[in-house]
């Protein structure tokens, strides 16, 4: 039995401050389609492949899934069950028992992205107290342990005393001090590792942001999804808890807060990447497996997008 993990690989290029026009809360929601595909290859026959897919749009005030939200499919096909997990993520578990040497996972869906006014009401951090539900986002998770980043976390916020200043300090510090570079990190890289190496991809920067916010007593969680204007690969950013406004997004990789536009399409939230990879599971084979190809696309102008459209991305 072996473990397989797929994506998020990296963000194509960094576009700092490419925040779209901002605070038009009266704007119409923007309907989009997305398509995702991944191909895994194996060096020997796989007789059993059991995967958990978190590739369906999350339902919250930033976005509304339309028409059932999503469709997922695999080649070869397997038996599927769909369920929500405790954080509201839609999980598709697909178990394949037809012998295969190649596995294709495809997902498509339709979602309305809602504009949202930026939250400006800041609060002094010392006066904030969070309930028991928030505790799990304050303590260590597998890849984001606040204890390991305390010194850097202090440096990052300078003399800030309020919630939004703290978050903004952390987000900017990560963006300014960590170089975006592929290939230096893996799915097991922790926030502490990144602090040491100072270079990594979006998921690593998100982990460092999470750990630093937790070190300041700000509950923070990992978000997995797509950048609608830079699809191609899955992206990662974070959400912090505002005592009155709930979970608010911020993106350490791009160095921005206030993701109020329609740039982000969210799949799942968790304490860190290890809880919500887009694809996770196990297969049984004498051989080894690897991710051969993956891509994602977002369509602003299409009437329909089917699984076949996702599969067609393989030929691009």
């Amino acid at each position: 039995m072996q473990t397989q993990l797929g994506g998020p690989l990296a963000l194509g290029s960094q576009s700092v401050g490419s925040q779209s026009v901002g605070s038009q809360s009266d704007q119409e929601p923007v309907p989009v389609h997305f398509a995702y595909v991944a191909r895994y290859e194996y060096s020997d026959v796989v007789v059993q492949n059991d995967n958990f897919l978190r590739l369906s749009p999350y339902d919250d005030r930033y976005q509304t899934p339309v028409g059932g939200g999503s469709e997922v499919a695999t080649v070869p096909t397997g038996r599927r069950i769909t369920y929500p997990d405790r954080l509201g993520n839609v999980v598709n578990r697909i178990r394949i028992t037809a012998p295969h040497r190649e596995l294709i996972i495809a997902a498509t869906g339709r979602v309305c992205l809602n504009y949202h006014a930026p939250v400006l009401d800041d609060v002094p951090l010392a006066s904030v107290s969070y309930g028991l539900d928030a505790q799990e986002f304050l303590t260590a998770s597998l890849l984001a342990d606040p204890e390991t980043v305390r010194a850097a976390a202090r440096e990052a916020i300078g003399s800030a005393t309020t919630l939004l200043e703290t978050v903004s300090g952390v987000v900017r510090w990560v963006h300014d001090n960590i170089r975006y570079e592929r290939g230096n990190t893996s799915v097991n890289t922790t926030a502490a590792d990144l602090l040491e190496s100072r270079s990594g991809v979006c998921q690593d920067m998100t982990h460092l942001g999470l750990a630093m916010l937790r070190a300041h007593g700000v509950p923070a969680r990992y978000v997995s999804g797509l950048l609608t204007r830079q699809p191609g690969e899955t992206h990662a950013w974070l959400e912090f808890l505002h005592p009155e406004r709930g979970w608010l997004p911020a993106d350490p990789t791009r160095g921005i807060m206030e993701l109020n536009g329609t740039d982000y399409l969210k799949f799942a939230v968790g304490r860190d990447y290890s809880e919500v990879p887009p694809v996770s599971g196990s297969f049984v084979s004498k051989g080894e497996g690897w991710l051969n190809f993956t891509t994602a696309e977002v369509f602003f102008d299409r009437e329909t997008v089917s699984v076949d459209d996702a599969l067609a991305l393989l030929d691009c």
Binding site: Q48, V91, V284
Partner: protein
């Protein structure tokens, strides 16, 4: 002799009152031991060990080493009235779990949260909408209990995939009685017939008087191979390995044999990953070409997190309260529970959701501080992997040290076996298998080095 051993004076020793005097039900047994005397008991002990070796009564932890099951031949006695409660409680639990599995795979279940159920390693989406013959998922059930010292038994866990050990229950009692028959004087031991119950179960599932059954073993190097060999002989069925089975042209399972291959109606399987042992078996099973005992998919209720909801299953499906209590357990996905557990580490047991055979069980009060804090860190990082249970101060029993000739107290648990046949009738085999911990430990699993002890239900 028994009563003057100070090491045995634990307040929860099943044989003794708190003042050290022998409990009434054990008086005949103690008298029998006293009149035999230590030298004679040691001689008989040796006879019993010799018999066990000749019968290859083994539980192999290392295939290179012939190792008989360490057994304490002095029986544990369970009064019939106590047994009656255990027996009804086990049957009730088996029925509720079976009903739940039927809803889980073939209907809608509302008892366990969906993310708990569907993320479970042994939940198998392939089996959705498949109804096993006679709606029976759990044919053979093993349940682990501990005795709280006052006739009250508490459940620690359920074994639903391939419960192991029923032979050890039978064989330890048989060898013990054969070598030291004097111990039975004055007792009316409640009998049972494992062979009849299994054969009736096989026949009722296949709608045939004499179905063709095989026992599928993992291999002769597996730890419980003695049991596989013994049961196949007892039931008069063929013992096969995975490579002996294949799928015939008509889609039915066939077994290779010297006198010509034959079609198989039922597989009493003692392996979990069936498709790996016999490629194509899942499809044959889903096409109703073969019966599997236990059914595929029962492992979903073997999960130690799902365990927390079994009392709810009993109330939901049977409309009655659970007869037996279970150890108080904590779902660590909840931050409040996690907080509680982290603050009470020195009094709890941590278990991994998927562990078995004593693996992944951490009795925190018995661990040193460094180890405990490493576990606490792991719990914080990966709470979904664990559950926590209150530690129980359960009973000890007297165990004979044959070299020194002294009795000492050791922790014991009780694994009880039950069989459900195609008519929905449940048979619980009186006595069960008593497992004895090693000195200074509370883990009794045989895979973890524990020994066993015959248990008699006495009238």
């Amino acid at each position: 002799m028994l009563t003057d051993t100070s090491t045995a004076g634990h307040h929860l020793n099943e044989c003794l009152n708190s003042d050290g005097s022998v409990k009434p039900v054990y008086r005949n047994l103690v008298n029998a031991i006293d009149s035999l005397g230590v030298p004679e008991l040691q001689r008989r002990w040796n006879d019993a060990n010799h018999r066990a070796a000749l019968d290859a009564f083994t539980f192999m932890l290392d295939p290179r080493e012939f190792r008989t099951v360490p057994t304490d031949w002095v029986p544990r006695l369970i009064p019939e009235a106590e047994w009656d409660v255990i027996s009804r409680g086990v049957a009730q639990r088996l029925k509720a779990i079976n009903r739940f599995l039927l809803d889980l795979y073939c209907g809608e279940q509302e008892v366990v949260p969906p993310d708990v159920m569907y993320s479970c390693q042994y939940f198998n989406p392939e089996l959705l909408d498949y109804r096993p013959p006679r709606d029976v998922f759990v044919h053979i059930y093993g349940i682990d209990l501990v005795h709280m010292g006052d006739g009250r038994y508490v459940i620690l866990e359920d074994n639903l995939r391939i419960p192991s050990g029923i032979t050890y229950q039978m064989k330890s009692a048989e060898i013990g009685l054969g070598a030291i028959p004097e111990l039975a004087a004055g007792y009316d031991i409640v009998p049972y017939d494992i062979r009849a119950a299994y054969q009736e179960m096989f026949a009722s599932l296949c709608d045939k008087d004499s179905p063709v059954c095989v026992l599928l073993t993992d291999s002769k190097y597996g730890s419980a191979f003695f049991e596989h060999r013994y049961l196949s002989e007892l039931f008069g069925i063929t013992l096969v390995e995975g490579s002996d089975l294949y799928i015939g042209a008509n889609g039915r399972v066939r077994a290779r044999a010297m006198g010509g291959d034959f079609e198989v109606d039922l597989i009493y399987r003692r392996v979990e990953d069936l498709e790996l042992f016999v490629p194509g078996l899942t499809e044959a099973y889903l096409d109703h070409k073969v019966v599997l005992v236990n059914a595929m998919g029962t492992g979903a209720c073997d999960d130690k997190l799902v365990f927390l909801w079994v009392p709810d299953m009993i109330e939901h499906y049977l409309g009655e309260p659970a007869i037996l209590d279970q150890a108080v357990s904590y779902d660590l996905r909840s931050p409040a529970n996690r907080e509680y557990v982290l603050q009470n580490l020195d009094s709890l047991v941590l278990k991994t959701r998927q562990g078995y055979g004593g693996l992944g069980v951490f009795i925190l009060p018995d661990l040193d501080k460094g180890y405990r804090s490493r576990l606490a860190q792991q719990l914080i990082e990966q709470p979904q992997v664990f559950i926590a249970q209150e530690t129980l101060d359960f009973s000890q029993h007297l165990v004979f040290d044959e070299s020194s000739g002294v009795f000492e107290g050791r922790y014991v648990d009780l694994r009880v076996f039950a069989v459900q046949n195609g008519h929905g009738e449940v048979t619980v085999f009186p006595g069960g298998l008593t497992r004895v911990s090693e000195a200074n430990s509370r883990v009794t699993n045989n895979s973890s080095g524990g020994s066993c002890k015959p248990s008699w239900v006495v009238r």
